[in-house]
């Protein structure tokens, strides 16, 4: 079947004309520069080709069922306005390349400039790049950047940071150059142990890294940490995995964060089984030249009209090569566009209303759970839209029971924190209805 030819226009006539123009007899001759013995004699062992409708049917058959879900932990089910998918489906956006030719990429460039602005406003920082791969790798790059700036070895990493983010940081650092010191969380409160953190602060510390809200959904207090770190000449790096929280929480920039690196998936990106997501990276102006990633700047053209270009490219791989601030080239451009459109729709009032609704629904669920026998809210400090429950029974068995009712009731914590083996992480966003929360509470209570 040759339906794939709808993507390859050449007819036999075309091929013959072209071979003649080039001056060769056959297509084989075009590969003359490849040693004969290296050329394949058999076709590749691949299925297909499938016709368009057969492909669609095959893919439809692979889909997962959809449940009422209370899952979170770095990926969040949020409402995405219809407008977002319609606008990013415009092929001038999604089939375009990186905007190196500024004159014919003003759409992409202006949108990224708007994205950079929004990220600065959201995180309270001075400058943002045009996106990183995801929150985890963004945080890892922040750690590398802090090392470039301070030249120091130690990183104080809060244990309440998303375990996968910590794993990525561990993978990225060179153990000859840097070393991680894990700062524990307070068992009752669920927050990073500030006292221990301060004890470990010395002149060998490059940066302190804290996530807010943390993996337990608990809101961290960054006040005083910034000051203490700066006294020792180190940097404060703030991470996050739930961007919506900043519709209501004071941004890390206001607490003196030097770099903020987090996940933007909540801002209009679908869950998509873990990717593509959106790494956000913001910092202070004085660190611009140390920053990874693309930057869009405003300028004027020949006629004095405002326009936008990629700038400060001398930090990047295609110019600086081995001295680049990072090796990142392709980033998450279209995802940044989705976030820009999402935030344009929600805007100033909408984002804070959205955050408040998340908090409200989560508090409703939390209250219900706290009143059940055999179940307690694990941490005492305030949470945003996620919280940890401690239950007497085996959490995995409890979740099994809840699953039977068509609900994914939460995330067992033991795979992430072995000491929390009777704990569940429950996430409640604006997408679950009151009835669904009531149903979940009902089923949970029965299962306990």
């Amino acid at each position: 079947m040759e339906d794939y030819l709808r993507y390859i226009p050449h007819t036999e006539e075309d091929v013959q004309k072209m071979l003649k123009a080039i001056g060769v007899k056959s297509i084989e001759d075009l590969f003359g520069s490849i040693p004969k013995e290296q050329r394949l004699s058999k076709p590749l062992d691949l299925p297909g080709p499938l016709s368009e409708i057969d492909l669609i049917r095959h893919m439809e058959g692979l889909q997962s069922p959809i449940f009422t879900s209370f899952l979170g932990g770095g990926a969040y089910d949020h409402f995405i306005p219809a407008v977002v998918s319609h606008l990013v489906s415009r092929s001038e956006f999604y089939t375009a390349y990186t905007p190196y030719q500024a004159e014919i990429s003003q759409g992409t460039l202006q949108a990224i400039f708007e994205f950079q602005t929004l990220m600065c406003q959201l995180t309270g920082m001075e400058v943002s790049n045009g996106s990183m791969y995801d929150g985890a790798s963004s945080l890892a790059e922040a750690v590398l950047m802090a090392h470039r700036i301070t030249g120091r070895r130690k990183i104080l990493l809060s244990q309440a940071i998303h375990p996968e983010y910590r794993k990525v940081i561990q993978t990225y650092i060179d153990p000859d150059e840097q070393e991680i010191v894990l700062i524990p969380y307070l068992q009752k409160e669920g927050r990073t142990d500030k006292e221990t953190l301060v004890q470990f602060l010395d002149q060998d510390v490059s940066a302190v890294v804290i996530q807010n809200p943390n993996f337990f959904g608990v809101i961290e207090d960054l006040q005083t940490i910034g000051e203490r770190v700066h006294q020792e000449g180190g940097l404060m790096i703030a991470g996050f995995s739930e961007a919506i929280a900043y519709g209501m929480l004071r941004p890390p920039g206001e607490f003196g964060a030097d770099i903020v690196a987090g996940e933007g998936q909540s801002l209009g990106l679908s869950l998509s089984f873990g990717g593509p997501y959106l790494g956000i990276f913001t910092t202070k102006e004085k660190f611009i030249r140390n920053m990874p990633g693309r930057l869009v700047g405003e300028t004027v053209d020949l006629e004095g009209k405002r326009g936008f270009v990629l700038t400060l490219a001398t930090r990047e791989q295609h110019i600086r090569r081995e001295k680049a601030t990072s090796n990142i080239c392709t980033n998450e451009g279209l995802c940044a566009l989705m976030a820009t459109i999402f935030l344009s729709c929600f805007g100033k009032k909408g984002l804070s209303e959205l955050a408040l609704m998340n908090l409200s629904k989560a508090e409703y669920a939390k209250k219900a759970a706290s009143q059940m026998e055999g179940c307690r809210v694990a941490f005492s400090f305030p949470t945003f839209n996620e919280f940890v429950l401690e239950i007497d029974k085996d959490p995995e068995k409890v979740l099994e029971r809840i699953k039977e009712e068509g609900i994914l009731g939460g995330l067992p914590m033991r795979n992430f924190y072995p000491e929390l083996d009777h704990h569940l992480l429950v996430t409640v966003t604006e997408m679950v209805t009151k009835e669904e929360i009531d149903q979940w509470a009902n089923v949970l209570e029965k299962a306990l």
């Binding site: 439809e60 001038e92 999604y94 207090d221 593509p276 053209d301 009209k305 090796n327 929600f346 629904k361």
Partner: protein, 510 residues
């Protein structure tokens, strides 16, 4: 009409045909405009000021826009009209493989049973997704002639980094710690920066007069301090590295690894298997060879294919099949860890999976054959009018220079900008670095013969203009929204965001 201030001049927004000016989102809308619809909440509204200490709450989202849905749609629709995508026209960027992005792949990747699935959904409910990922790994391994694949890297450079880290772990397991990586002078910038991020010192290998690397140059530099050679095959000059097999032997004999940058795989599908040439690791760019869209800079996906010796070091989780069931395996003690959260850019991966299923073995081979045919046809057509630094057959891309136009004081940049006036996206300029004033063109297989003829004709016209009326090139482009933007100003005085105007200035300043 509203106004935007540029420096000290106030410019009125022009509504001129399809090139309307469009302010920033921050310069439009205002108090009371609303563009969203939230779900209902009949329960109690949380008293955030009671639940959370007030010093942890923000007062307002300063500077955030407030727009109606209509304004949002108009804004981004107008922005899109200033862009040029593969769907708009020919996009011959070298080593980028800007081929057509099939629309059915967009649809299937967005199916609700993929798009709405949380990454921590229990495995028993993700069997379809796991199957697609597992099968794609198999396809990519087959196409490259390698043993195993990880889909975790989010881009080519990310795949390179993963490979470098895995190799480092493999060396460490042997009790070795090597310092250097050999990189040809034709390499993409990421090869160098990746090596540095992985804490290796880059040693450059110069290509020979035929534009490929010769074994003796490699033998000169190869020793037990060299961890690997990073080659691109075919390379950025558009040539197949014909000595790669021999080079691989030289490197392997001293215990090093051969990393291949697979960005140019579009020339080789069904023709050659890189694994047969002695390659130990190769990354693929799904957003190049496998037709997933570029998105204006991403998202991409850069799976890494490896030989089985490196398998223990793969990032976790690894997808396994037991009987008919698929699962994630995290129990890999020698794994390098993770390079991003979760499993990879699944939304992109599904498109590549769909593409390979639509093409089959014959389709992929046909794609490579036509890609190579197109590039040679292009080269033949332009040969008389532009200087060809290496006069020999190419594979999927070809490189010209501006040497013939130098005497008219016309540069590669001018030629590129003039192409824009004729409705084409320029090729890659000033890369690879080994060619002065390079014009690197990759037509891909999705371009028709007539399309190529039109491009060739236009380039010949431009060559004539360079001789007879060079000002046309130096003043180009003319038919665009903005012309020759001041990059020096952008770099000297970086202005990287919009700022809220201070009260003494009118709305929209700075």
């Amino acid at each position: 009409m509203c106004s935007t201030k540029v420096g000290d001049r106030v410019e009125k927004i022009k509504d001129t045909g399809l090139l309307q000016d469009e302010p920033l989102i921050f310069e439009q809308g205002g108090e009371g405009r609303k563009g969203y619809s939230l779900p209902r909440w009949d329960g109690e509204k949380a008293k955030d000021r009671k639940l959370i200490p007030s010093h942890l709450l923000r007062k307002e989202l300063i500077g955030f826009p407030q727009l109606s849905e209509v304004e949002v749609v108009r804004h981004f629709t107008r922005l899109s009209q200033w862009n040029f995508g593969v769907d708009s026209g020919f996009y011959p960027l070298g080593s980028c493989t800007m081929k057509y992005n099939p629309k059915v792949n967009e649809d299937v990747a967005k199916l609700s049973g993929f798009a709405n699935i949380h990454p921590y959904t229990p495995e028993e409910f993700c069997q379809g997704l796991l199957r697609a990922m597992y099968e794609l790994e198999g396809f990519l391994a087959e196409i490259t002639g390698m043993d195993q694949v990880t889909l975790q890297p989010a881009a080519g450079a990310h795949g390179e980094l993963t490979g470098m880290m895995m190799m480092k772990a493999a060396l460490q397991a042997r009790g070795e710690k090597r310092k250097k990586v050999l990189v040809p002078d034709t390499a993409h910038g990421t090869n160098c920066s990746t090596s540095t991020v992985a804490s290796y010192q880059v040693v450059e290998i110069k290509s020979n007069e035929k534009g490929v690397i010769s074994p003796d140059k490699v033998a000169e530099q190869m020793d037990e301090e060299v961890a690997a050679i990073m080659v691109t095959n075919p390379n950025t000059l558009g040539f197949f590295e014909e000595h790669l097999s021999e080079i691989a032997e030289i490197v392997h004999r001293k215990g090093g690894f051969v990393y291949c940058d697979g960005a140019n795989l579009n020339a080789l599908m069904g023709i050659v298997k890189l694994g047969d040439l002695g390659v130990d690791m190769v990354h693929l760019n799904l957003h190049k060879t496998f037709s997933t869209p570029h998105g204006g800079g991403g998202p991409g996906s850069g799976p890494l294919a490896i030989k089985k010796e490196l398998a223990p070091f793969l990032p976790v989780p690894v997808i396994e099949k037991a009987g008919e069931a698929y699962r994630f395996n995290y129990d890999r003690p020698l794994s390098i860890g993770k390079i991003k959260a979760f499993y990879g850019n699944i939304g992109v991966i599904l498109k590549a999976y769909a593409y390979i299923l639509s093409m089959g073995a014959e389709g992929l081979r046909r794609a490579s054959e036509m890609a190579v045919l197109n590039a040679n046809y292009l080269m033949t057509g332009l040969k008389g009018s532009y200087h060809l630094p290496y006069d020999q057959p190419c594979v999927h891309e070809c490189v010209f220079t501006d040497r013939f136009q130098e005497k008219f004081h016309v540069s590669t940049l001018d030629i590129a900008k003039r192409l824009i006036d004729y409705g084409f996206h320029p090729p890659t300029i000033y890369f690879p670095l080994v060619v002065k004033g390079a014009l690197m063109m990759e037509p891909t297989e999705t371009e028709s013969r007539e399309g190529l003829d039109r491009f060739i004709e236009t380039m010949i016209t431009i060559a004539k203009e360079a001789e007879e009326n060079p000002e046309l090139l130096r003043q180009a482009p003319r038919k665009v929204k903005v012309r020759r933007l001041d990059e020096v100003l952008a770099a000297r005085k970086p202005k990287l965001k919009w700022t809220v105007p201070s009260p003494s200035f009118p709305k929209g300043d700075k």
